[in-house]
Amino acid sequence: MQPEARILPVTPAQSETRAQLALILLGGGVFLAAALFMTLGARGSWAFVLQFRGMKLLGLILIAHAVAVSTVLFQTVTANRILTPSIMGFDALFVLSSTLLIAFMGSVQLSGLDPRLLFAARLIVMTLFSMALYRWLFLGEEQSLHRLLLTGVVFGIFLRTLAEFVQRMLDPNEFMVLSDMLFASFTKIDPVLMGIGWALVLAVTLWLARNLARLDVIGLGRPVAVNLGIRWRRDVLLVLALVSVLVAVSTALVGPVTFFGLLAASLARLAVGTTRHAVLLPAASLTAMLLLIGGQTLLERLFAFNTALGIVIEFFGGVVFLILLLKGGRR
């Protein structure tokens, strides 16, 4: 029996209650955090404060949802709980795509371009890349988790390094444009990008909501899923494409975050104690929102720190990653 079995529910009724309770608590927590985030320490014109903070809040919600959902989906299709898209370098892929786009087209052409078109171009390049790179990794008939883990982590490092390498070869002007594109932060979220982001993420979420049963079957692993009539190649590639879209949205808005998704997904799994996507996906999304909005409120409003949230989240996410790795090694 696995060590976590002790904290898992024992009967279906308990399991149901626990999942519902967890969702209600998480939802309440997010609501509270959002209310505090909007109102705490506000001075001056309320209309201005609410509009300004409202924008930020919308951004945080979008990022949290995209990161959490992409992590859970990725873990479902790869049948593991340790790797995430960002550990595998999906976000590095997005950085790389943007870098290559600039390297080949030049900053002059790019800066004249409609930002929506530019985002679309980056997204398409990234999705094609990820399809090409990851199809051989995930579509094999016999999979070893250890091989996947190893190649995954190595791939992530490789892609990040490659992106950095290409960046060093850019001329200074182009590099400026690129860093503008890449290092957006919570404090200066581009409203146009956010609009596109919301549209894309809502579309993905709608598709997911209608395919929860299919995701559950995919989560049973390739042999059982194929037996139940899942077209494995097609469906896994489709889900990986959705993951690419989600990662692209969050990376475009805040830049790469390595361990945040893992932290949110792992905490959500603990909280709900079930693998049903109808419960797990919203739970992960709410957990991520709670971490991000709650964390931001605490640091910014109470402690008056400004940029530390990313570091704090990455630290705890990294710890979770290590724990999972060690636990996985013992099994």
């Binding site: 009967t11 008939e141 049973l220 692993g221 042999p223 059982v224 037996n227 139940l228 009539g229 104690g273």
Partner: protein, 252 residues
Amino acid sequence: MIETRALRKSYGSSLVLDEVSLTLPRGGITSIIGANGAGKSTLLSVISRLLTADSGAVSIDSQDIFRAAGPELARKLAVLRQDNHLNARLTVKELVSFGRYPHSKGRLTPACREAVNHAMTWLDLTALSDRFLDQLSGGQRQRAFVAMTLAQETDYILLDEPLNNLDMKNARAMMLTLRQAVQALQKTVVMVLHDINFASVHSDRIIAMKAGRVIHSGTPAQIITPAILRDVYDMEITVQEIDGHRFAFYYG
């Protein structure tokens, strides 16, 4: 009817399936026997599209399995592998209900519920239906997986060592259940068995494999003989007939 044509499969330099051509008519129980590593599981996986062969073809009712649509095939053929590990945490009932996915895409109809309940009754799981799989013994878990396969209500049922972990009583009950499904519902069952006496008593056909080849096939009376068993297992095995069934003795 299941037909395989010249199936070949190798891992690295070792040939695991060597030109396997078989015809399994509709109806009846076919058992596949052979030593560890003979290629039985590989053959079953290739027939059920879980594994692709390097060359050769498989067809079911004259339709190529790799060209058949996934969901349609899942309503015609169900397969259970030798080892089943799930990442998901499910109750017995939830697992068995997954067998209905090809029919209902996750929304259980009254007919689905009935099929699920039948499958659980056949495998004596009703009392365990609300238990999580990680709270079951090995044999109970094995029965839950077989129940899922039966709940799929397919014409063809492929099982890799379904008697794994089962005690005498449950092993016999499962064989009788399968017999009944074959007789009453005209199912076609193909299974890998290590207990050659179960194969002898309950099969209509036995296929013997060795080193990736089908070396013998026929009725139990034709296969369960000292000469053929020696050929298959490389050991001396006595065979006796009791009550019209042939039994192999290899314990002493």
